[in-house]
Symmetry: C2
Subunit: 237 residues, 2 copies
DNA sequence: GTGCCACCAACTGTCAACAGTTGAGGCGCA
DNA sequence: TGCGCCTCAACTGTTGACAGTTGGTGGCAC
């Protein structure tokens, strides 16, 4: 991907000259890392002075970092009460899965409809197979992210990516403590065949394929089936 | 709807006790109003000290308000250079239309699939007809917003609404200076028939109907046709 | 024991001053 | 005249202190 492997979660949009990192962004990054690592539990509170002390800054940038994290949807702020790491109900998680499947689905539709290049998807699928063989779960996760992101990036402008990112991030947080029961090689195989399907299909089918791929994966993690009304017929168009 | 007609754009999520308004939220609201009214043009710069002076506060809350508006996606910040009202390319606008159609489409699918109540949609459609008769454009716009919002609210948890809101808000800003050439009564009729269609259909068709409703409306405003690959077959499911 | 009230500690909200940076305009020099 | 350097004004970034709010705690009357 880009120049940094560990890219900032807080993207300063729409230009290249903004390579400067402000303290607030720095703090936001470190905090979000902590949150995703589970060092701060869902529902946990973020104390401004404590964090300012730990980061070695004043409270100003910390407060600003909180607003960033709020935008990212991983903390919530209640006036005069503080900021808390978000928690998700199972209904919310299901919604997020549906949203993700919808977004990536339409990305696939646009991708096929505009005849964009699909090699990156195949490459990532190949890497997924390798990571599965090596039983490297964390690399696998990262590659899954990259697959979806590549789909959205190739399909449209930043609008799609931004929206997708918001959803994916929250979903990742919601799934932080849930492990997938299916084997890595099974999951990798699904990516490979998905990429193969996309290679030679029409927009409508592409959307249906991607959507079902994500829906089945997501609901499987929850240990439940996909509601029938969400299953999309493979429309030809 | 809710208790306030003029509800805050910056929602403090997930509880009722947060009725308190902080200065930053107040400023964010007033600024976003100015932006949507076009008093600050797209690409325009927001000066911290000037706004602080005008609002009668220090720069702290103003900076915080900027972060809120950044989250809302209506301004962008470049370190050491300032914050600017976002501008949209036509490609971005098209993406936003596709996103909106996708989100509301899946909302319709969930709505029908879970057999939710549809009366609010019919009520709003009726009001739209009336507003069209009265040739009241601003009320019409507000009702359009309410129709879409009702769709998303009824369909799922707040996740869908939040995501949809983000997209809709940006789209509204992008279309701030573009007027629809079609007559109000024509547009109102489409809502009425859409609501009628939703009343007795299956999830797949509901999604296709809503999606095409929004796609055709959106691209019409741009004065171009809907790309064929975006047109969804009315799948039966 | 129970209920009420005042106090208090721990926060978050706000402020005004200070530091750092950027881009522009003036100035000297070739 | 044209080029490069310097200075400077106008910003944004950061700080530490002060103000306001909240929930709990202890004492007091009953």
């Amino acid at each position: 991907m880009g120049r940094h492997d560990h890219r900032s979660l807080v993207t300063t949009p729409a230009d290249g000259l903004a390579e400067r990192r402000t303290l607030a962004v720095e703090i936001a990054d470190r905090l979000s890392q902590s949150i995703f690592l589970g060092e701060i539990a869902p529902g946990g509170r973020l104390n401004e002075v404590e964090i300012a002390k730990r980061m070695g800054t004043s409270r100003g940038p910390v407060r600003e970092a909180f607003r960033y994290l709020q935008d990212l949807g991983i903390i919530e702020a209640v006036p005069h009460h503080g900021s808390f790491v978000v928690e998700f109900s199972s209904a919310q998680i299901k919604d997020l899965i549906v949203l993700r499947s919808t977004l990536e689905g339409v990305a696939a539709r646009m991708l096929i409809g505009t005849r964009k290049d699909l090699t990156e998807l195949h490459v990532v699928a190949m890497h997924l197979e390798r990571a599965a063989e090596a039983k490297n779960g964390s690399v696998f996760k990262r590659l899954e992210w990259r697959f979806s992101r590549a789909l959205c990036e190739a399909a449209g402008t930043g609008e799609l990516v931004t929206t997708w990112e918001q959803v994916y991030r929250r979903l990742r947080l919601a799934f932080a403590n849930i492990t997938d029961n299916r084997t890595l090689s099974d999951r990798a195989g699904r990516y490979t065949s998905l990429a193969a399907t996309l290679k030679e299909t029409v927009p409508g089918e592409a959307e249906a394929a991607v959507r079902s791929h994500i829906l089945s994966g997501g609901f499987a993690k929850l240990g439940v089936g996909v509601p029938e009304y969400l299953v999309m017929d493979k429309a030809i168009s």
